[in-house]
């Protein structure tokens, strides 16, 4: 009885908040994906009133549109690839950093974590503009790279307005979301475990791979969830840096809500994206759960 009460007390408020301020608005948009678009934008009414009473004014046309042309699924796959690459490199870069901070003397740890987050309290746009400067044709970096490539006779490469610029900035923008969960997990690893492993004859790499890495898996999964999923819906980075080739499905969704004023289709696209993301993450979690049964 007390346990049940505790359960509702702890899970109640967040559930309630999310139901009111997330589930209900989302249901509005799920419904919207079955509605017709308003003549001048927005949404057409749900109920049409005429001589014979009220009729439900709903349609499947948005979903039909999605499945009618492979171009939408293709864009989703392209976005998926960008998201996977971004997540992979984020993990690759975040792990050493999180490990370094977790292993540092405790009085420095908070400061080091703060230093990771600090750049992200400047404005997003201004950081992207900084990258435009760094990747622009006149930057020192570009000049050095092209000078280097020029030795091999390779023509000058443009860095800006390319898919490379998009992925680079996506990695940059998402990095703290991988570092923080990883750090939160790594910080609690008991150094005694590593000492024990060393006593048993494990070398540095083995200690990492057989002790640290498996223990950090929950942190890795958390980081992947916080990076991979949001990147799928991003549009600001490809908008500014993507040139003519770098668009992602988020750009299309934005376009549907704004220029095309086709809210039902925008909603349908978003829902398909969400379902796709949940399937991937859910599937990965299932696989991880089965494999990780023996882990602490």
């Amino acid at each position: 009885m007390a346990k049940n009460f505790g359960k509702w007390l702890i899970s109640g408020p967040p559930v309630l908040y999310l139901v009111v301020f997330f589930v209900i608005p989302t249901c509005i948009m799920v419904l919207a994906s079955f509605r017709y678009a308003g003549e001048y934008g927005g949404l057409a009414p749900v109920l049409l009133h005429d001589a014979s009473g009220a009729h439900l004014n709903l349609t499947l046309e948005s979903y039909q549109e999605f499945f009618s042309d492979f171009i939408y699924s293709w864009l989703f796959i392209k976005t998926l690839i960008y998201a996977l690459v971004t997540t992979f490199f984020c993990l690759l870069m975040a792990y050493p950093l999180a490990l370094l901070i977790a292993r540092s003397a405790s009085k420095y740890r908070d400061l080091l974590v703060l230093l990771v987050i600090l750049p992200f309290w400047s404005n997003f746009l201004i950081r992207i503009y900084a990258w435009m400067i760094l990747l622009g044709p006149q930057s020192a970096f570009s000049a050095a790279l092209n000078g280097f490539l020029g030795i091999f006779g390779v023509g000058p490469v443009r860095l800006l307005f390319t898919p490379f610029a998009v992925v680079l900035c996506l990695i940059y923008v998402q990095l703290p979301f991988m570092v923080l969960p990883l750090y939160a997990n790594l910080e609690k690893h008991d150094p005694a475990l590593l000492d024990a492993a060393q006593d048993l004859g494990a070398n540095g790499w083995q200690r990492f791979w057989r002790v640290t890495f498996p223990l950090s898996l929950p942190g890795i999964y958390a980081g992947i969830a916080l990076v991979f999923v949001p990147v799928l819906g991003i549009f600001a980075v490809p908008d500014i840096l993507g040139g003519t080739r770098g668009i992602m499905i988020g750009n299309l969704i934005k376009q549907e809500f704004l220029e095309a004023r086709d809210w039902p289709f925008g909603s349908a696209l978003s829902i398909m994206l969400t379902i796709g993301a949940m399937i991937i993450v859910g599937g990965a979690a299932l696989v991880a759960g089965r494999r990780g049964k023996g882990n602490v």
Binding site: I10, S11, P14, V15, Y17, L18, F21, F22, I24, P25, M29, A94, P96, L99, R103, D110, V113, L114, V116, I117, P119, F120, W121, S122, N123, F124, L125, I126, R127, A130, W131, M132, L134, Q138, P176, F177, L180, P181, A184, N185, K188, G204, P218, Y221, A222, L226, P230, L232, G233, A236, G250, I253, F257, W263, S267, S270, L273, T274, M278, V281
Partner: protein
């Protein structure tokens, strides 16, 4: 991993993180209207900033919203993270993950329609409520990952020694997961202070935040004044947090 290799790769990542920031701060002193190349040194933009009421008000709003939203979402998110870990609930995992998956523009439009439907006057409050909604999930996931693998025997031992469940939670579990909570709070703060899309749709008349203000300048010129306020905002936030951590008792930091 050899200590040296770890240190070098860690520092390399820090360098990557700070490279654009160096540009941002440096260019706040740039004697050119555009954020495109270095011309010369000047304090001009800081002077412009200090007399720019609109920008300062927007920055103030951003800070207020971020502080409130991160506080509320940390509380709710910690509860959710703990519930995810402790109780095998079916609904909560989906509720927590979904806001991350749904594209921001959909969340923004849906919240706007919702607020209009319930007749809530748009303003700072509507922005705060929206931010909390999407930050809770982030905090919950971080806290959850910190909790998993926690030694259950510790709070149990506390209970055996006579502590109530609440005391066991407060005096044993909470300090153990404190780094996770703090990490979640930092994430929530970062998300809130820089959010554009959702804020755009749920902002009311006269309630501007810094990202909205800056975005509206995007067509004209994102002058170094923006670099100046970014620099100042970063420094101010850093200062606030250092002060806050000095004031908070050590037990909360889990030492």
């Amino acid at each position: 991993m050899s200590k040296k290799l770890l240190a070098v790769s860690g520092i390399a990542v820090y360098a990557f993180l700070y490279l654009p920031l160096v540009v941002v701060v440096a260019y706040s002193f740039n004697n050119s209207k555009l954020n495109a190349e270095w011309v010369g040194f000047t304090w001009h933009w800081y002077r412009v900033l200090l007399s720019d009421d609109t920008m300062l008000k927007a920055a103030g709003n951003s800070l207020l919203i971020a502080l409130t939203a991160s506080l509320a979402s940390t509380v709710l998110g910690t509860m959710a993270g703990y519930a995810l870990y402790r109780y095998k609930l079916k609904l909560l995992p989906v509720l927590v993950m979904a806001p991350l998956a749904i594209p921001e523009i959909l969340v923004g439009v849906s919240l706007l329609i919702f607020f209009v439907a319930i007749n809530l006057t748009l303003g700072l409050l509507s922005i705060m409520l929206s931010h909390i909604a999407f930050c809770v999930g982030f905090v919950a996931i971080v806290v959850r990952s910190r909790l998993s693998g926690m030694d259950e025997s510790l709070p149990e031992a506390a209970r055996d020694l006579g502590a109530t469940p609440f005391q066991a939670f407060r005096l044993v579990t909470l300090p153990l997961i404190a780094p996770g909570i703090i990490a979640g709070a930092l994430l929530a703060f970062t998300l809130s202070i820089d959010d554009f899309v959702i804020t755009f749709f749920t902002a009311g008349v006269g309630a501007s935040t810094l990202p909205l203000q800056i975005y509206s300048m995007i067509k004209i010129a994102v002058t170094p004044e923006v670099n100046a306020i970014s620099t100042l905002l970063m420094l101010l936030t850093l200062f606030l947090i250092v002060v806050a951590s000095r004031l908070s008792p050590d037990s909360i930091r889990g030492r």
